[in-house]
């Protein structure tokens, strides 16, 4: 009993020492410490390429965006983090509001990344983008039946609309963009209209909505572009489901399709700031952008980088050019609006 007590104490002490020395050893090598809410396997291979090109080691913790923001905030000025990567403009806005980022001045980044996809002061930069598209049933709808996000609230679609929960951040940003376009009362009316048209209480992920249309549970679904692109190259069942729906880029005659992004910024207290800037510039290079986009079927941020064939197949589309910071700011209002509308 005493022995096992002692040995477990020793174990804990050894572990603590190891951890302490682990960070001490790291001082010998050039590093960049990354907290990331993006966790795709291609990201890892891009980081490896960065290390082999620059000799800078990438230390990574991936996790939920909100938990990472909370950790950064509590660590304060002693945080080991240099870089914070997250998905969705609302999250970028939250991190910005909590003072996590520092402004970065880089002419390369300005040249690579369009102005509406980076923070005006260089607090964060877009990495990849995804469009929130509508998928309509090939059998039960025809081209032109649905053209705008606004149509989702049209009573003619009663019992036909499939869309996931309002807990999902992509829906929050979509509503945020509608607040920007239609004002608060217009957006609230839209939310109520969508809820009235739902084929079932919101459930499942984006792919489940697409599968729902294919199986006949509803006629139109809302999903991010990469989920659909991925289904096209997925399992037999997924490919079959994907073949039964058609892509609609909404609002092409007016403000454009809502586009969300994943973004990156340098942490205020970054102990390795120079490495952090190199890291972001590397990720914004055409080579990394191409790979980023390919790995997760996303659109590259850099206009000069290549879009993958499957996305090119969907055709060109006009984006809603409103700065991501704006609809990010509407996040809290968007959620309350959806709560009031009964959008679970």
């Amino acid at each position: 009993m005493l022995i096992s007590n002692f040995s477990s104490l020793k174990l804990v002490a050894t572990l603590a020492l190891f951890a302490a020395f682990g960070t001490a050893f790291a001082h010998g090598q050039e590093v960049v410490n990354v907290y990331s809410a993006r966790h795709y396997d291609t990201d890892d291979s891009i980081y490896e390429e960065f290390t082999s090109k620059t000799g800078i080691k990438v230390n990574l913790i991936s996790g939920g965006s909100d938990a990472l923001i909370e950790r950064l905030q509590r660590e304060g000025k002693r945080s080991p983090a240099d870089i914070f990567v997250t998905v969705d403009a609302g999250r970028l806005f939250q991190a910005e509001e909590k003072g996590i980022f520092q402004p970065i001045e880089s002419s390369f980044l300005k040249q690579q990344i369009p102005a509406n996809l980076r923070h005006p002061d260089g607090l964060w930069f877009g990495l990849t983008k995804r469009a929130r598209i509508i998928l309509r049933s090939k059998d039960r709808t025809k081209e032109g039946d649905i053209q705008n996000y606004e149509d989702l609230a049209d009573p003619k679609w009663k019992g036909k609309v499939l869309i996931r929960s309002s807990t999902n951040v992509y829906n929050q940003s979509l509503v945020g963009s509608i607040i920007e376009a239609k004002g608060k009362s217009g957006a609230e009316a839209w939310c109520k209209g969508v809820v009235a048209n739902m084929a079932r209480p919101p459930q499942g992920g984006d792919r489940d909505q697409i599968k729902g249309v294919a199986a006949g549970e509803g006629d139109i679904a809302v999903a991010n572009s990469y989920y659909y692109a991925r289904m096209l190259s997925g399992t037999d069942e997924e490919r079959e489901a994907a073949s039964k729906v058609e892509v609609v880029f909404p609002n092409q005659e007016n403000r454009g399709t809502h586009v969300n992004l994943s973004g990156i910024g340098v942490v205020k207290s970054a102990p390795n700031k120079a490495n952090a800037i190199k890291f972001i510039e590397f990720l914004a290079s055409d080579w990394a952008q191409g790979l980023f986009a390919k790995g997760n079927n996303e659109y590259p941020i850099a206009p000069s980088a290549e879009t993958i064939p499957v996305l090119r197949g969907f055709g060109e589309f006009t984006e809603d050019k409103v700065n991501a910071a704006k609809f990010g700011k509407n996040n809290t209002e968007a959620i309350r609006m959806m709560d009031r509308a009964g959008w679970r």
Partner: protein
């Protein structure tokens, strides 16, 4: 001479107990400190819109899961311990298997198979040429669906604790009750069941706490409870303050539950006499009755284990995660080490605390053990934030001291280390080991302690020579529960782990959160495989009764002959 030494010893015990309790109390205080803070109108908004629904769903879910796991767990435990029927020797250990499946994975498997666009409903539609409005099918994504899913996932907690109690129950008591004219059923309801009450309660309360704090599975089932509301309030409304305040509602509910049970059994005692399993005779069930018993024990195993494992194996075989195969050995090793170290420490601390409470039941020590049992009811994400906050608070303070004295500071050395992760697991899972061990201790007659004291044994000697041998089974049970829990744990692991350190559960999360569920099945199978080994091993040991060693029988024998 003896007095100062003794008071020193009891002071040490007190300090240690308070230290252990502070592992849970400090993070809880971090959460409690949110009480007075303004939440920016979030509360009013919640009250006006979603809170009533959260509360109703949470209540129905907790009652539903609590009740059905009790029926399933106690029924199965009694059947396999007292009866012989078709396959009963397989059910003895197989009933524990669902424990190895993380509940979010089970929910995912169930919703995937049974949803409208899933294989079952699709084949039904094709077979009978139905369309959407032509038929009714139970919806897995609903409150009843969530109750069923969580029940078949969590009943092993009740089964395990209750079975340990049944096995340790004296066969004399039972035979006595039969001699007095009670049939097997009456003997069960009037003798065995009441005697096992503390163990049943601890099993059910672990289930209820787990249900209250469950996020992943409930979210998959599209049911809004307080736990999903807490998560949503935090992530979407960006208000950790309001989320912490909501968590306190859960804590209040658990506090009420514990107080209710301890009040209602205040004057009852549950000691068992001779626990020799050899002496007990099992009832041979007739074929039809045996068939019913086999169905009763078999169906939760089918739904809670065989279904998800088959599905994940199928998905892994067809569209597995190639990268996970490469990383499996490293991820598996990390998971295994974490689970082993954390579970050993949890059992050690739980044992120390419950022993201290037994030999020196002073108010502060009783309070310390109560507080230590609360960590399980708060959603893992919130408790992880509490632990992180506490650790960083401490480290920031230390750094400030260093800076003011030496104008140099060591930076963070504890947060982001494996040790911090182990501490977080104590906060969350101490209640599991503590509860199980305390329930085990209630079955040991205090006479044993008195006799040992008369023979001049100290508290430590009583623990090592008397309690430990009797408790071996209980300790292994606690170890196993925490081990499997750590293996499945996600939020604390995600936010507190060191750089470049992943576990199997983290891998599942990374893929599943991106809706790559086919690929996630590979790491899921690995978690299940890792969890199954100790589960099977321990349940075999338990059923063979190898864990009861001679010192206890000798003590018993002496007492009986006196």
């Amino acid at each position: 001479m003896a007095k100062p030494a003794q008071s020193l010893r009891s002071a040490c015990t007190l300090v240690l107990c308070v230290l252990i309790a502070s592992l849970v109390a400090v993070p809880l205080l971090q959460i409690l400190s949110s009480l007075g803070q303004p939440s920016g109108g979030t509360w009013q908004h919640l009250r006006e819109t979603v809170l009533p629904r959260y509360l109703w769903n949470t209540m129905f879910l907790a009652i539903g899961v609590g009740f059905s796991t009790m029926v399933m767990g106690v029924g199965a435990a009694w059947l396999v311990t007292r009866c012989r029927f078709i396959g009963s020797w397989v059910f003895e250990w197989a009933l524990l298997l669902p424990l190895a499946i993380p509940s979010y994975l089970l929910a995912y498997a169930a919703t995937d198979v049974f949803q409208f666009s899933g294989p079952v409903q699709t084949s039904l539609r094709e077979l009978f040429d139905w369309s959407r409005n032509d038929y009714w099918f139970p919806n897995a994504r609903s409150l009843p669906g969530a109750i069923v899913i969580l029940s078949v996932n969590l009943y092993p907690y009740v089964y395990l604790t209750t079975r340990a109690a049944f096995l340790e129950q004296s066969s004399c008591v039972r035979e006595m009750s039969r001699t007095l004219g009670l049939g097997p059923w009456k003997s069960f309801f009037r003798v065995s069941l009441p005697m096992a009450r503390p163990s049943i309660f601890i099993g059910v309360s672990l289930v209820v706490m787990e249900t209250l704090s469950e996020f992943g599975a409930v979210d998959y089932c599209a049911v809004d409870t307080l736990a999903t509301g807490i998560y949503r309030t935090w992530t979407s409304r960006g208000s950790l303050v309001a989320a912490s305040q909501l968590s306190l509602c859960l804590l209040g509910a658990v506090g009420f539950l514990i107080a209710f049970e301890s009040l209602s059994r205040r004057s009852l005692r549950f000691y068992s006499g001779d626990a020799s399993p050899k002496g007990s005779k099992r009832i041979q069930l007739s074929f039809p009755k045996g068939l019913v018993a086999a169905l009763f024990c078999g169906s939760p195993i089918l739904a809670g284990f065989l279904l998800p494992v088959t599905l994940f194996a199928y998905k892994t075989w067809n569209h597995g995660d190639e990268r996970a195969m490469e990383m499996l050995s490293e991820l598996g090793k990390n998971s295994l080490i974490l689970a082993t170290v954390a579970a050993s420490l949890t059992v050690l601390l739980g044992l120390y605390l419950s022993h201290a409470r037994r030999v020196r039941p002073s108010l502060p020590i009783r309070m310390a053990s109560r507080v230590s049992g609360l960590g399980y009811a708060i959603p893992g994400g919130v408790i992880a934030m509490g632990v992180l906050g506490a650790i960083l608070h401490f480290e920031n303070g230390l750094n400030r001291v260093f800076e003011s004295l030496l104008s140099w500071s060591p930076g963070f050395f504890f947060s982001g280390s494996i040790a911090a992760l182990i501490v977080a697991y104590q906060t969350r899972f101490l209640s599991v080991s503590l509860g199980v061990i305390q329930a085990g201790l209630t079955r040991i007659h205090p006479d044993l302690d008195s006799v040992s004291r008369t023979l001049g044994k100290s508290g430590f000697a009583i623990l090592s020579k008397v309690h430990l041998p009797i408790l071996k089974r209980t300790l292994l049970c606690a170890f196993m529960l925490v081990f499997v829990d750590v293996l499945k744990e996600l939020p604390a692991t995600l936010i507190l782990r060191p750089f470049n350190f992943d576990t199997l559960a983290v891998r599942v999360y990374q893929l599943a959160s991106d809706e790559r569920l086919d690929e996630a099945s590979t790491a899921a199978i690995a978690i299940i495989a890792t969890g199954i080994i100790p589960v099977i091993l321990l349940s075999r040991l338990m059923s063979r009764g190898q864990l009861i060693e001679t010192p206890f029988r000798q003590t018993q024998g002496r007492r009986n002959h006196d």
